[in-house]
């Protein structure tokens, strides 16, 4: 029993890099005491594909489609964040209608992402019936996304300077039908997920993160909101059409009357955001202005504008999992000089350590899933040279980032 060497009363269990509880590869090492978790460590980096490296050898119009492929679920979030960064550098003005189209598709993405998560969460709890139900409900949003953009995943709709397809008036009845469907089914979903005895038993007071911890660990998105932090990029620094829409960040106490910061609260927040997304899409449909949806129809002109641009910018948007940030730096070449992606899971993953400590093995899958991790968004580094494994400490990372900043400063 080499893996299971007993040291006193503790033993270690590896979960990952491939494990049924994990939808993407990551390695957890747990020091267990009976059924209780004593210590946790995790090692991401199993899923790096070098997309930024590829991007820095392409022009922004090409990269925007590469960003679709960073994540299979939140494709629009990444392309939108990247497009916003480039638009700021090149001072491209996005037409008003394009903002609304972007908002609608981003909210549909949130719908399908949260419902996908709800299904996964149910599966992690061993409640497969609810998993099938949630994914069946999710299908409706996938169908509408396909109807609107032509694709079920990797929508390819965002372009630097706007969107590639307009949503026309004759498509609105289909959108309206799906919104009606979600309004009808929302009560049922809330009831099934939140009133079920076994789900309450498993999720209440599990994986608790206090508001203070959530703030200190810089968590973002539904994970932070479930701990009571009222932070939402859509609300705090509106982009696309969010400034025109009437909404406030979803917090668990709006439904429960109090905030516990447990897994149950994270289910509450995500399900309520499904309801909120329906409302936001409806507001967009009602207020949609007329006009063009792309700054310039001829792509070579967009490219030329990007090529002339110099400077740096950050595109921030609220992805379904939380803040998604793209840093782009252009130096007058076709290709960006620097492109950095920071996905929401990158900010959220450290909260696992506190959440998992003291929980049972049975809770590991649901607690890990509760921040809706997306490793393919997060993994930004892989050592591909030889067998050597380096572990960088905080001091090493600080030194490396200072060196890189100096290098960048010399280039410009």
């Amino acid at each position: 029993m080499s893996e299971n060497k007993k040291i006193g009363s503790t033993y270690s269990i590896p979960i990952g890099p491939v494990h049924p509880a994990l939808k993407e590869p990551i390695l957890f090492t747990f020091k267990m005491n009976g059924e209780l978790v004593e210590e946790v460590d995790f090692a991401p980096g199993e899923c790096h594909r070098g997309i930024e490296w590829m991007g820095m050898r392409r022009n922004p119009v090409q990269i925007v489609h590469l960003t679709d492929r960073i994540c299979g679920i939140c494709g629009v979030s990444h392309s939108l964040a990247f497009a916003r960064a480039v638009e700021q550098i090149a001072e491209i003005e996005v037409p008003e209608r394009a903002h609304y189209v972007r908002t609608i598709i981003a909210e549909y993405e949130r719908l399908q992402s949260h419902l996908l998560w709800a299904g996964v969460a149910a599966h992690e709890l061993g409640f497969d019936t609810l998993f099938f139900l949630a994914w069946r409900v999710r299908e409706e949003s996938m169908d509408v996304i396909e109807y609107l953009t032509g694709n079920r995943v990797n929508y390819g709709i965002v372009q630097v300077g706007g969107v590639r397809r307009d949503f026309t008036e004759d498509q609105f009845p289909r959108i309206e039908a799906s919104l009606k469907y979600y309004e009808d089914v929302a009560g049922k979903l809330l009831n099934l997920f939140l009133e079920d005895r076994t789900i309450q038993m498993r999720c209440k007071n599990t994986g608790v993160m206090s508001e203070k911890e959530a703030l200190e660990l810089c968590t973002v998105g539904p994970t932070a909101r479930a701990s009571g932090l009222a932070m939402d990029v859509r609300y705090d620094s509106p982009y696309a059409a969010y400034g025109d829409l009437d909404f406030t960040p979803v917090l668990p106490h709006q439904y429960l009357g109090l905030t516990n910061g447990d897994v149950y609260d994270r289910i509450v927040v995500r399900l309520l955001e499904v309801v909120q997304s329906v409302d936001l899409i409806r507001q967009c449909l009602e207020n949609m202005p007329s006009g063009e949806v792309l700054w310039e129809k001829k792509y070579p002109k967009i490219l030329a504008a990007c090529k002339k641009a110099t400077g740096e910018a950050v595109g921030r948007i609220e992805a379904p999992r939380g803040e998604c940030l793209h840093y782009v730096r252009m130096d007058g070449n076709t290709n960006p000089q620097c492109w950095k992606v920071k996905a929401s899971t990158y900010s959220n993953q450290m909260s696992w350590l506190n959440m998992l400590k003291g929980e049972q093995i049975a809770d590991i899958p649901i607690v890990v899933a509760s921040i809706d991790p997306c490793m393919s968004c997060t993994d930004r580094v892989a050592v591909v040279h030889g067998e050597r494994t380096d572990i960088l400490t905080k001091a090493d990372l600080h030194r490396l980032s200072v060196e890189k900043t100096r290098r960048l400063a010399q280039w410009s």
């Binding site: 029993m1 270690s12 049924p20 009976g34 069946r136 038993m201």
Partner: protein, 344 residues
């Protein structure tokens, strides 16, 4: 006729082979039907009913890998032991109009002991696997076993005790309890209070079944998303196929036990039939009753719930179900004293 130790070897051997074949076939068929039930309730189409047969055939054709850390003899013996002991349980339980093959050589108490053997074989196999997942799974299986034994024992003892209180000879024999020969069952013995008690005990047994069979919500020892299959994580090929068959046989045995205790009626009691037709009709009706038990205690429960934590399993089975069983027992006792069962 040659007799060895008072047993007719031909009858016992023939009966054992027949029961073993029936147990494995019926187990796989019922598992196929059960998967179909669950799929329909989850708005899926589900695999064809013959899927378990395909699974077993496929597993039997695959290599059986023994991990480096495992203890090979124990690791390979556990699946055989699990299947054999599951079949032995069936030898003591009446199947429709057929008396148990080993009637008269063991009673309800023995069946209760035998029910723990497949689980113990799983535990031994799990510990012998040398994998942390399997070790945790084995620990959980033992805890689960300890949790459901109390409610199971209460349900079983209460029935036998009530029959004894009614002055029926040999109350712990399953043939007596099922009334295969006499036509006297627990339901014809008890009064109104006893019927309430019986219903409570039936509910207890319905909930013990998923724990006994390691199905959701009590599949903690296997827990796919937590332990990737727990006890069975290192098993593959022939060994896994044997565990799969054992699971099927155990499902039939558990359902047959519930049928014998609580749903013992035979068609031939109500309709006059020729002896052969009666046996066939009773057997068909018995299969139907087994299907009903599997539907309610496996399919419905597993479709409607999330998995428990192991601590929940303990508190629910000891607390709630143990309490419910004791309440049922109290009703049975009251019934015996009020209903003139003053023989004791």
């Amino acid at each position: 006729m040659v007799m060895i130790l008072g047993v007719d070897p031909v009858l016992v051997l023939g009966g054992t082979v027949a029961v073993a074949l029936f147990g494995m076939l019926a187990g796989l068929v019922f598992m196929g039907i059960e998967r179909k039930f669950a799929a329909r309730m989850q708005a899926r189409i589900g695999p064809p009913i013959r899927q378990p047969f395909r699974d077993v055939a496929k597993l039997l054709s695959k290599d059986s890998i023994v991990p480096e850390n495992a203890i090979p003899c124990l690791f390979n013996m556990a699946p055989v032991l699990a299947l054999a002991s599951s079949i032995v349980i069936l030898l003591y339980i009446p199947l429709g109009g057929f008396l148990p093959v080993l009637a008269g050589y063991g009673d309800l108490i023995l069946v209760m002991y035998l029910l723990t053997v497949p689980a113990l074989a799983l535990v031994a196999g799990g510990f012998a696997s040398g994998s942390p997942y399997a070790t945790v799974g084995s620990q959980r299986e033992m805890v689960t076993m300890m949790s459901y034994e109390l409610p199971l024992a209460i349900a079983v003892i209460a029935i036998a005790w009530r029959l004894a209180a009614a002055g029926i000879a040999d109350p712990f024999s399953l043939a007596t309890i099922a009334g295969t020969a006499s036509g006297i069952t627990i339901w014809s013995v008890v009064g109104p209070l006893g019927i309430i008690g019986c219903v409570l005990l039936l509910i207890v047994l319905t909930w013990v079944t998923p724990a006994e069979l390691s199905r959701v919500p009590c599949d903690t020892p296997e827990a796919e998303t937590e332990l990737c299959g727990g006890l069975l994580v290192e098993y593959s090929g022939r060994n896994l196929a044997l565990f799969y068959l054992a699971q099927g046989v155990k499902t039939v045995a558990m359902a047959a036990l519930a049928v014998a205790l609580f749903l013992p009626w035979n068609i031939s009691w109500f309709v006059a039939l020729s002896p052969n037709a009666a046996l066939a009709a009773d057997f068909a009706f018995f299969l139907l009753k087994i299907l009903a038990v599997i539907f309610f205690s496996v399919s419905v429960i597993r479709v409607g719930m999330a998995r428990f934590r192991i601590t929940h399993v303990v508190s629910i089975y000891w607390g709630y179900l143990g309490g419910l069983g004791l309440l049922g027992l109290v009703f049975m006792v009251l019934d015996a004293y009020i209903g003139g069962g003053g023989v004791l």
